[in-house]
Structure formats: C-alpha cells, structure tokens
Symmetry: C2
Subunit: 368 residues, 2 copies
Amino acid sequence: MPKVYVAIIGAGGVGKSFISQLNSYALRSKKHTISTILISRSSKAILSRDYSGLNLATWESDIASSSVSVKPPSFPDETLKFLTSAPGPVILVDNTSSEAIAAEYPRFLSSGVHLVTPNKKGFSSSLDLFKAIYAASGAQNGGYVFHEATVGAGLPVLSTLKDLIDTGDEIVKIEGVFSGTMSYLFNSFAPLSPSGSEKPFSACVAEARELGYTEPDPRDDLNGLDVARKLTILARLSGLQVSEPTSFPIQSLIPKPLESATSAEEFLVGLAGFDGEIDKVKTAAESEGAVVRYVGSLDVGKGEVSVGLRNFDRGSAIAGLKGSDNIISFYTRRYGERAMIVQGAGAGAEVTAMGVLGDLIKVLERLK
Amino acid sequence: MPKVYVAIIGAGGVGKSFISQLNSYALRSKKHTISTILISRSSKAILSRDYSGLNLATWESDIASSSVSVKPPSFPDETLKFLTSAPGPVILVDNTSSEAIAAEYPRFLSSGVHLVTPNKKGFSSSLDLFKAIYAASGAQNGGYVFHEATVGAGLPVLSTLKDLIDTGDEIVKIEGVFSGTMSYLFNSFAPLSPSGSEKPFSACVAEARELGYTEPDPRDDLNGLDVARKLTILARLSGLQVSEPTSFPIQSLIPKPLESATSAEEFLVGLAGFDGEIDKVKTAAESEGAVVRYVGSLDVGKGEVSVGLRNFDRGSAIAGLKGSDNIISFYTRRYGERAMIVQGAGAGAEVTAMGVLGDLIKVLERLK
C-alpha cells in the first residue's frame, strides 16, 4: 500500500478528536498506509525523524515528556524541510486557530505539501493571503487544500458550494445561521413556541456560557466576527472580492459601553442593563408573526454580505431551528425559488474533527 | 492538458441537460480536455471513431441523421471494445433507466472504464449485481463508480453518507421524503396550514400528473417502488444486506382493485372511489396534531427498512417541507439526537444532470 505522511499541528479539543479518528481510520484503511510524523501541541512536539510513524495510541504521554518544539524559530523553515524530506506525499493538518501558521500555508502548498484545516484564518483574513493559498495550491506540483470545517464544522457546506459552482450553477444567495452559539442563544431567548418563562437575553448568555456553548469571554461570539469570517469564506469561494472579514456590515451584540469591560464577568453584569433594548427587538418581531435570529447572508448578484439580526417568518426553516444547530440555505439558479438546505450541528470537537478527516480522505483519494 | 473520453448512453430529459452542462464544463475546464466519443439515444447513436470528439453543439441534428446504433448485438461487446481502445481514460455516463445496461456495469468497470449514472437499477436490483459493481470497481485497475443522482438527484446525499461512514461515524437511522412526486402530492393533499379548500386525493394525483410531476401512469409513483429503490441503495451503502428492493415492507397507494386498470385514465377515475379511505388517514393524523407524509426510513441497528405513510408532528422538518422538495435526515452517533439534514429539489432534469456532472468531475479529480 502507498504510504502517506501526516503532520498535525494543534492537539486541543478538535485536534485530540482528530487524532483519535485518524488512528481508527489508519487501522481500517485498505488503500493507504498512514504514518503520522509530527504532532505539535502548544510548546511541545513529537517527531518521527525516521518517518516510521508515531504511536497514535500513546501520543499524549509521549508529547508530555518531549523537549522538542515546532514553534518559531524552528517553524516554519525546519518544519517545512522535515516535511518535504519525507519519502512520500505529506498532508499537513492545522488544528490551531493561529494566524501565524495560516500565513505560511502558501509556502507549504508551493512545496507540494497538502493541507487540511478547520482554521478559518487563512481563508478569512486578508484577500491577498486567500489568493496566495489558492494560487500556491493551483500551481504545478502545488499541494491540495481543503477546509470544509471552516464553515459548519462537519456539515457538507463548502463541498456543496464547490459542486454547485463546478457544475455551472449560479449562486444567487447564501443565508443561514452559522454559529452554534448564536443559534442556541436565540433559540432559547426567542423560541418559536414561547413557554412564557423565557429568560432575559443576558441570562441566556450567562447560561450558554455555563454550558460551554460560548467562548470563555462571550464577547468573542457576540461581536459577530466568527460569523463574519465564515461569510467571508463563502463569499470569496462564490467569486466576491471581500478584502477583509470586517469590510462589510457586522452587527455586534456587544453594547458600546461594555466593549471595554475588563472581564467576562463584568461584561455579563453590565449586559443585564441592556436587556430592555434587545427585548424590544424580540417583541417587534413577534408583533409581525416572526422571530429574530442572528444570521449571515450573502447576495452574490448585488455583491453584498451582511451579518446581524433579522426577522424570520415563523414557518421558515431558519425559525424552526433547534438547539445549537446551524442551517445553511443555498439559493441558486437551478434550484430556483426554494433553497437547497444543509442543517445540523455546526460545532463540537467530534463533528469538526470529522470534517477535517473527511478532507484528509479526499486528499488520499486524489493521490495515486 | 490530459485528455479524457466520455461516452453518453441516454439522451432524454436528463441526458439532454447533461450534455448541455458537459459542453459548458468542457469549454471552461483548465485541467482536462474532454472528448465526447459516443452519444446514444433510443435506437440511434453517433460515435467519434477516431476519438477526436463529437460536436456537442450539433449532436441533436447529427444523431437524427445517424444510421448507427449501440443496441444489442453491438452492445455491450463492440461498445466495450470501442471504449477500451480509446487512447486515454474513459468515463461512461448512463443516463437511461435500463436494467439491461446496468447489468453490464461490472464488465465495463473491470475493463477500467469509469462510470457515473443516475440510473438506480444497478444499485437497487439484485444484491449480487450491487456487489459485482463494487467488486469490479474496487479491483486492481477497476474504474471509479459514482451514482449520487440515484438518490435525491443533485442533493449531496450519497456523498454525505460516504463521508459519515468513511470518517468512522455510525449511521443510526436515515429517514425522509425521497420522492418529489410524493412530496408534492402530500404537501397539497394534507398541507401544514390547510386553507380548507384542499382537494380529494384523486384530484391531487390528477393535478400532479397534468403538471408533469408524476410518471405518465401515476401508478409508477404510487406503488412506492421508486422510493423503495432509493432506500435499498442507502441501506446497502450503510452495510445492510438488502437482497431486493421488494424485500421489505412497501406501502402501495394503489388500491388493490385498481392494479389491473388498463390505462392511467381508468385508474384515475377509479381512484376517486377510494378518496374516503385516504381521507380517514389524513383526518386521523390531524386529530393528533400531525400531518401524514409518504416517507422511507432505514434503521441500521435493527436492520429494518420501510416505505409508506407515517404521521409527523407539525413542528417537524418533514412536516414543514414545501412543493416537491425532498428531505433526508441522517441520525448518527456523532450528530446525536438531532439529525443532519439535507433538503431541496430532488427531481428535475437540470438538478439531476448536475448530480451526474458533479460525479464526472469527481472522477476527473481522481485521474492524474
């Protein structure tokens, strides 16, 4: 069986799930032998210098006792040299959310290293980096790049968009709930079937944070930037030249005076003082038979991208969403008036890792 | 650019759309030169005997004046010889619904010819044929086989199922509305928001037929076999050994006495006499706050497949379906309680052809 070499940077929540899934996959694969030659986690790393492969069953204890690192200055030069010296194709898996690592993607791809990643930074920061990544991948002997898990985790969002475009359909509009956190927040704050015991918005945020549905500081969700990054990726893949993830309207749910709160706790206390404002938005939606949701939308014809609150008819698919599910509606020329819809959990280590492993398998299938 | 040869059998509704989409794709492809070497339509065919390629802009008039055929006895032997003599990789596109052509898939695949098709017959008839197709494809130098459009037309159903399984998720249950015809019929007969002016079931069937939403004889939809074939494909890909598409319970909506009606018209007249029966089913569903829908479901753990009428809560995604849309819910270990859902138009020449072209592109991406 042909041997393929895998290097994994980042072994936090998603990374750990990924390694576990990769281990099972490698054991049952009948088409490729998979040799993991690098695992890096914060300041420590383990390398298989003879390319025979690390033990994926003992990597956690092995890395704990390691004294090696692939941080700068050894990254990227030494790492790149190590990968390109492997005696076969190499797939780099970036499970971090690092902007610095993303900045090096073009170099790795130009050197023929394939890349799969859930890291949004490379595709949603400057347009120059996005273009450099795809140019490097598209050049002769460039590596493949797949990043399905940057939008909707394991949901088939980018692959569906690619199929639509590749086969000559025209994307008219993409719209949806792209954040598990925002989905959970609004499904509890403004449910489709109110029980009358709904909590004020600040209490919903506090509860979501306790359940682990938000970032440690919920402002990192409420500022809308995560959703904006996903829309930037979809917009660029649809052909729009979005220069930065902040170059279109993003409605932040952080009240101005609380932007400078010095802790998440201080922010949450302060947020209660603004419950009246967002309650008005909720009531206004209800009065027209609708519910308010935090959505991203992309109008390809008009070249418009926007992220923020909007009202949706109670009968719409977006209004009917549950839990922390995502929903992505593709309106295209061929599908006409009604959207093609993909819906389901769009966050979580297991389903995100699955999206990354699915991409890795797509690379394997394209190798000979 | 590497040259790839395409042979197209069947040029009816889907086939015509496919050829038009392929023509556009070939013109814009920067990675492969596509040479169409065969188009066959009912009793006539055109071949590019020197493999230089047919003119996809004039194929309809060219085929009309052709005196060649690829029917038996020239099919399959001569056809296979013609394809395998091409000076590069060959992709066979079967846009028919022929059982006889499907029976030859293993031979073509064994000979290294790749296959893409919306024809359900090869994958949903005898289990032996299904296994022979995948064995031929999986053997050394076997051709690739893709058949996304056999379930849900252009919707990403089989690719999603493949990703879930390949990455090690476990399919618990698949459930949904798999027929555009059945979707349209029940969305008009038993809508989520009744207007009070709903027509009896037989009138809904007659109307759907006039609008072209049913087969010429609506019994070919109402017998449930089309849905049963799709469930057979999903079940087999999920690992269940379903021996025939009729080896599990299929609820036919054709009243027994009308099975022998000699024409579609006679059937429709007779169907009105049974409107009371199906009205009772509709009213019973309404009395428990539900709507009745014609669905297929697959329980992998129990090894059970079934096709027929079932009641769904008014708040469920299946109840909320509109028009002739399909909806497919995947319940898996990783996605847990709430399904991953794919929804949208699941029939129509353009979106079906798109599913076929998407598969053809997947083959191209796997060629070097």
